[in-house]
């Protein structure tokens, strides 16, 4: 039974975890920085909520995945 059974492993290879964590967190922090720069420089009248939400959505996605891979590379297998 065991010889023919297919082994299940992680969808992302374990060796990539640290690299992915660093890359995703840096991209996420760059996008988050652009969000805060937009908030700081733009005047109240020129604010566009759609742009803000899109930037924050992309930033949170990258930061979320980046922190997951950070936890996995540190040995906390969630």
């Amino acid at each position: 039974m065991a010889s023919a059974a297919k082994a299940i492993s992680s969808p992302v290879p374990n060796e990539w975890y640290p690299t992915l964590a660093v890359v995703m967190l840096s991209v996420g922090l760059v996008v988050a920085a652009s969000f805060f720069i937009y908030e700081a420089t733009c005047t109240k009248r020129n604010r566009c909520i759609v742009k803000e939400l899109i930037t924050s959505g992309v930033a949170s996605l990258f930061l979320g995945f980046g922190s997951l891979f950070l936890l996995l590379s540190a040995g906390v297998y969630v």
Partner: protein, 467 residues
Amino acid sequence: MESPIRATRILGFIFFSLLFFVCRSAPSHNLLISNAERRIDLTSHIVKVYLTLKVENAGSTPTSEILLAFPPTQVDHLATVEALVTKGKRKKTTLVRLDVKPTELPDVPNGNKYFTIYLANPLSSGESTTLEVLYMFTHSLEPFPAEIGQSESQLVYYRDSALILSPYHIKQQTTFIKTPSTKVESFTRVEPTNRAGTEMKYGPYEDHPPYSFSPILIHFENNSPFPVVEELVREIEISHWGNLQVTEQYTLVHGGARHKGVFSRVDYQSRPTLSGASSLRQLLARLPPRVHSVYYRDEIGNISSSHLRMDSRKSELEIEPRYPLFGGWKATFVIGYGLPLQDFLFESSDDRRYLNFTFGCPLLETVVDKLTVKVVLPEGSKDPSAVVPFPVEQHLEAKYSYLDVVGRTVVVIEKKNLVPAHNSHFQVYYTFKPIFMLAEPLMLASAFFLFFVACVAYLHIDLSIRK
């Protein structure tokens, strides 16, 4: 005058026929054991008995069930019973495992307990077959004297019968007993008895009726350490991100003769052969290969007296407790390690996943009094079920761990009285949709998104009191 005589005749006939039926309801006597050879290995604290039976069907009907009997004092300490039959001719013999199940029989003499061996092919009349039976007893060596000092040797009693207890007539039987050293204080003589070096021979005895019993008592020296794990809790956590984390909590005790008097470290270290000959110095744990992050700690902290040797087929962890264990001394510790998921988690044919792992203590030559195995399945797993090769007790629990919303299902399996022979594999089946793995990163992403939305809301809302 005729009717009373006839009445007594009828009564006599009824009584006789009843007696006939009562005799028939006892265990079937149409099997005959032509030769029985028993080898008892007393070298460690687990008593191993190898029984070779040549069973002949002297009745007229074919049978496929053979009974093994055990006296009630021994059956409480019985850990495992296995039966094998040799198949094939000389060079190509293979051993085929047979099913052995405990059975309840009505009207048994002396409260004996039985196990039934189910043969693969029924034994027809006149045929004979050779069976190899292996069974192990735990806690069967009684230390006597019950308390010894540091520099004394450990002597134990072993109680058994020179004649093999069986519900069948045995034509010829011999028993060989192997002791760990040549020092035997005393042993019961049941002629013919011989002793040569470390081996004692009781027999051959001819033509003994069923249930014949001849108690013997052997008092010998056994300086092997008696490691007994009173309680072991093994937690196996499955993470679909590629890791299996095993945490084992041990309560270890030395089950031999209790220690009395002082413990002198000087004597212990200067003369190791004389002092503390039966003390427990180290234990060896056999772990699967490719193990990582192994730790060995207790309530005080990390225990550094350990060695890990890794191989391509196995890993060996040699641990030394903080102090050597003498009789009656205890030690509690935790061993943990991580394993790659692809070695143990597989996909079954009906689209379910299953974990294939060893059941039992990885420590060699230890007896476990109570083992609890907890398999923590990832969040979102449904329909858990466990398949274990021997009778166990199971139930489900819930556990809350990292990033958990609904909790993880835990399959809890309990068993008592285990020996290293129980280290076979067991499987836990469950269903899991791979899309649930996204729940964890999306939970983190939504937490960050909530923070950004709060920033946007703060910057858009006008909180000034004056316009």
